[in-house]
Amino acid sequence: MTRIVAISAGLSDPSTTRMLADRLVESVERQSGDVSVEVVSLRELAHEITDATLTGFASPRLQDAIDKVVAADGLIAVTPIFKASYPGLFKSFVDVLEADALIGKPVLLAASGGTARHSLAIDHALRPLFAYLQALIVPTGVFASPYDWGTDGTNALGQRIDRAAGELVSLLKGAGTGRGPSDDIDLFSDTFLSISQPH
């Protein structure tokens, strides 16, 4: 069973960000039979995320969400776009993850915005952030503006969702980077050996 976690940073309830997350989850489930998907809604963790940035440790509920993200085989990260980028809540959640938490992990990036003029935020803001974290980013990003939710008759959004979800599914099936975070202490690193073999 492949485990996928969808992170939704939508701030309102109901939220179009969450709607977009749900559409992506549905598409991934449809295209990959053997998959379990769980949605982590950051709005419910907002206070705890702020606390963790101040104290350096996560509350049990936030730690549970972090553990799910780290253990997931793949991620769907969905955020609203405000003022040309992701909101602080989304970044703060990323900030409380360990630096190596997402190494090699397939991640589908998606965003919702109030205007189509935010559409490149996925490429100029989200993609560099996840590149820094050494995640394996799905080529197609999915941006949805109010126009996309309307009835333009072409279902362009649905097609982008299916394409991106399909790309995530195929990354989960094979490729990968073979890399991941490690909790192990390397007792044979140069540093460790310099302790037990003082000159």
Binding site: E48, T50, D51, L54, T55, G56, F57, S59, P60, I185, L187, T191, F192, S194, I195, S196, P198
Partner: protein
Amino acid sequence: MTSMQFGLFTVGDVTPDPVNKTIQTEHERIKNTITIAKKAEEIGLDVFATGEHHNPPFVPSSPTTTLAYIAAQTEKLILSTSTTLITTNDPVKLAEDYATLQHLSDGRMDLMLGRGNTAPVYPWFGYDGSKAVELTIEHYQLLRRLWDEEVVDWEGQFRTPLQGFTATPRPLDGVPPFVWHGSIRTPEVAELAAFYGDGYFANNIFWPKEHYIRLINFYRQRYQHYGHGEPEQAIVGLGGQFFIRKNSQDAVREFRPYFDNAPVYGHGPSLEDFTAQTPLTVGSPQEFVEKTLTFADYFGDYQRQLFLVDHAGLPLKIVLEQLDLLGEVLPTLRAEFDARRPANVPDAPTHAARVAARNAAASSLVEPVETTDGSLVEPVERMNA
């Protein structure tokens, strides 16, 4: 002889009192620290440890000056540090300063080494912060040799080489100060403590216990690996913090404004969440005793428990009241910890006990003693060193 040591550790911060809207001067803060240390001895505590910082709003930049001053005014208290910066201090000066303190205090001292947590300190002292772990290892290895060997030839990465150097004064009775290594995130420091059979200290104040359990268990396993004893015989110290009043609700009400404005966790989680998730107790003396006793369940039976009391802008008067209350429950804490303590768990280290152990080991040996760096030293030479 006391199987477990209890004491205080201070950061030495000058923090505004958010209730009385006052702030201590540096002079007041330094003098108050002395008062608190003397109070620690008065209520029957075993240890007083001071931090080392080189930037405002902290005052303790010269720990051995302060500790020697306290040693002169106390009789039983063990003076220690929390922590001494092994990264940015010259190991030669550390060997000299702390050996001098050892003589002045008649052995009533030890020290806890740490990396510090202030990045700019490194360049202020001419070091590169990205080399913190390497500095810790090299500096400690040199410090060890300066105390363990009479004459040292040494060359390393970070310091001028030494040729035929003897650090003076030599350690009191030929037994160097006991060393603790404090760390809350670095397994290499736990390894260093384990390799030398030194103590390991987790400050245990800001984060949930799970974080510290992993490092302490690692240290205990490596202590065994290097042949110093069983894992449960490793020398462990822990921090802790509390605010107590006879009535639990009074403690919560009085401490809340200090908690809410504290430099480390203020303006973040609620007092209730933080006490539930970390070792902080805010409540009655009984609640404090109960929570402190759980530390041994999580970390194993241990040797030293230090408490942070003078922080968050608390005025001296309240700190001293806290110590009076601590003094009242201290006999209970000692009795309860002793009652659960297996016989094979070693007592907390003292200079007298370490001298006795060294003498016992030396008199049973006819062969030269192998020191930690592998060189051979005649037993008699070590005894008289």
